[in-house]
């Protein structure tokens, strides 16, 4: 039986398209410093570190050793966890496992990316099989576009339906001082933006960001001494499926998210997600995901995503606000992005989300997405489980 774990502090950089003033390890330090300050701890209090990014994006294989100066992990147990887009949630879940095991009391989780240091598309292409997929694969955008084209064909969703998701996230970002993109957009703006890979246009998709996030996990008994309102981990689930893009069934929905969320809901005692969850920070790298994947999460039935969005259920003040932080469409420092979902969900539970705070949050959902349609799910709660 594992012990209870809570998040007691978070920190993140002010995300930008380019941070020429810092190298990667210096940028990591900024997030770590803020996370430690958030829980009034020092690096000496930290027993272990888990760190992740897309290491080929900066072409440094041993980021765990290379970055110790910034992560504070000198002579501490540190593990590198990198799982594509799910890196940030995998890092968070690995940090949780460290504490839940009983072996460590306070663990620091770090996610980071200096997207400006490489061509993101070329770097992502190196995740594809070199013999079979790399010739035709052209990065994240077209593989997401292929999912969108299959969904539109199946349910009749339109480009305007998807645009509403981007508008929502970009509007929410106005309340987040850390977000990368902080200018509002309209459905007309999205429709007029350049077509990158049909049906995805420039404003449908996430930016490239330099940024880092850090989260402190603490054990039951210690967490309560550190934070007045810790964010307890109620459940987490990980589903990583195929490595070949051709093994995905485009008519089945995002199967890994269906399975991961089903398991996590069961662990957390959630029966009806849209009713039982107070706020959701979802890893939505592009607008169409905001239509499809809320169906996979059980917020609404198959094909009803567009209506659920249109009726405002995911806006601030709605039934289940999604991405009060502005989400991935407003900030995307890939190795940090999924960890930011966990951090933002924790801020909501802890009551520290400032202008983007949803009132009276008891239960918050965070998801990670990446690689070849893999998913992680984390559920946080205000009540000690």
């Amino acid at each position: 039986m594992s012990r209870r774990v809570a998040i007691v502090g978070t920190g993140q950089t002010d995300h930008r398209s380019h941070r020429p003033d810092v190298n990667g390890r210096e940028m990591i330090y900024e997030a770590v410093k803020r996370a430690l300050a958030d829980c009034e701890s020092s690096i000496q209090d930290i027993d272990a570190v888990v760190i992740g990014n897309m290491d080929h994006f900066e072409s440094i294989n041993y980021v765990d050793t290379w970055s110790v100066e910034g992560s504070g992990a000198v002579m501490k147990p540190i593990m590198k966890v990198t799982t594509g887009g799910t890196t940030g949630t995998s890092v968070a879940i690995a940090a949780y496992y460290h504490v839940a095991s009983g072996l460590f009391d306070r663990v620091l989780a770090i996610g980071w990316e200096k997207n400006s240091e490489s061509d993101t598309t070329a770097a992502i292409i190196t995740c594809s099989d070199p013999i079979w997929d790399r010739f035709s694969y052209s990065g994240a955008i077209p593989s997401l576009a292929t999912e969108a084209s299959a969904y539109m064909k199946q349910y009749g969703a339109t480009q305007e339906d998807a645009a509403r998701v981007a508008v929502r996230d970009r509007t929410h970002a106005l309340n987040n001082p850390h977000a990368h993109l902080r200018k509002p957009i309209t459905v007309e703006d999205v429709m007029a933006s350049p077509m990158l890979a049909y049906p995805i246009k420039l404003l449908d998709v996430c930016p490239r960001t330099d940024g880092a996030a850090a989260v402190v996990f603490a054990a039951d008994g210690i967490a309560q001494q550190i934070a007045p309102k810790p964010a307890w981990i109620k459940a987490c689930a990980v589903r990583h499926t195929y490595t070949w893009f051709g093994d995905v069934d485009y008519t089945a929905g995002l199967v890994s998210l269906q399975e991961a969320s089903r398991e996590a809901y069961q662990q957390a005692g959630i029966g009806n997600p849209a009713d039982d969850i107070d706020v959701a920070e979802l890893y939505l790298p592009y607008s169409y995901a905001g239509l499809k994947w809320i169906e996979d999460l059980g917020f609404c039935r198959r094909g009803e995503g567009p209506t659920f969005i249109k009726e405002g259920h995911t806006d601030m003040g709605g039934k289940i606000p999604v991405n009060p932080s502005g989400g991935v469409i407003s900030t995307n420092c890939i190795g940090a992005t999924a960890l930011l979902r966990v951090a933002e969900a924790a801020l909501q539970v802890m009551g520290r989300a400032g202008q983007r705070q949803v009132p009276d949050v008891e239960v918050a959902l965070a998801t990670g997405f990446g690689g070849c349609f893999w998913s992680d799910v984390v559920i946080l709660g205000a009540a000690r489980p």
Partner: protein
């Protein structure tokens, strides 16, 4: 590439040489390319446990974690399951050069197979291509073939058979 003038005193260091690699294709993949070259036909493999047919053939069925032996020949015909017309420039990590755009990236279900084959489709007009259309592979001339995925030049839409 950024220069000193862009950032005042903040410099950058650039690196743009691709590193060489030589990947082993394995017995199953090598057989696939041999069949393409000798017979211009697709070969897949069937899992004895779940019955799924994979193309290209591979050693293992991942969900069953079973080794595979039953080779299956498949017709040169498939269905477009999903596609996208790529319209933004990016360097190809395989060559270091910009990949020519626009091009259409497609997921094709070959008749008789259960998984999807990724390749390019020779239609970049979104009004003329749809999920559900039938496609067939166009191969390179035998003497140009090199034993890799580009021995299939592209897939071409078989008009008049739209589902």
């Amino acid at each position: 590439m950024t220069t000193e003038q862009d950032y005042g005193q903040l410099l950058t260091l650039t690196f743009s040489t691709p590193m060489p690699y030589e990947w082993s294709i394995g017995k199953y993949g090598s057989l696939f390319f041999k069949e393409i070259r000798e017979h211009q036909r697709f070969v897949g493999i069937r899992c004895p446990q779940c019955g799924k047919v994979y193309v290209p053939p591979r050693r293992l069925c991942a969900p069953c974690f079973e080794e595979l032996y039953d080779l299956v020949t498949l017709p040169n015909l498939g269905t477009i399951m999903a596609f996208s017309v790529v319209n933004y420039p990016f360097p190809d990590p395989a060559t270091g050069e910009q990949r020519p755009i626009p091009y259409t990236y497609g997921y094709i279900k070959i008749e008789g197979a259960d998984n999807i084959f990724s390749h390019v489709i020779d239609e970049t007009n979104v009004d003329k291509i749809a999920v559900g259309m039938k496609v067939a592979a166009v191969f390179k001339d035998r003497q140009e073939m090199q034993g890799n995925i580009q021995d299939i030049r592209h897939f071409k839409i078989v008009r008049g058979t739209h589902v």
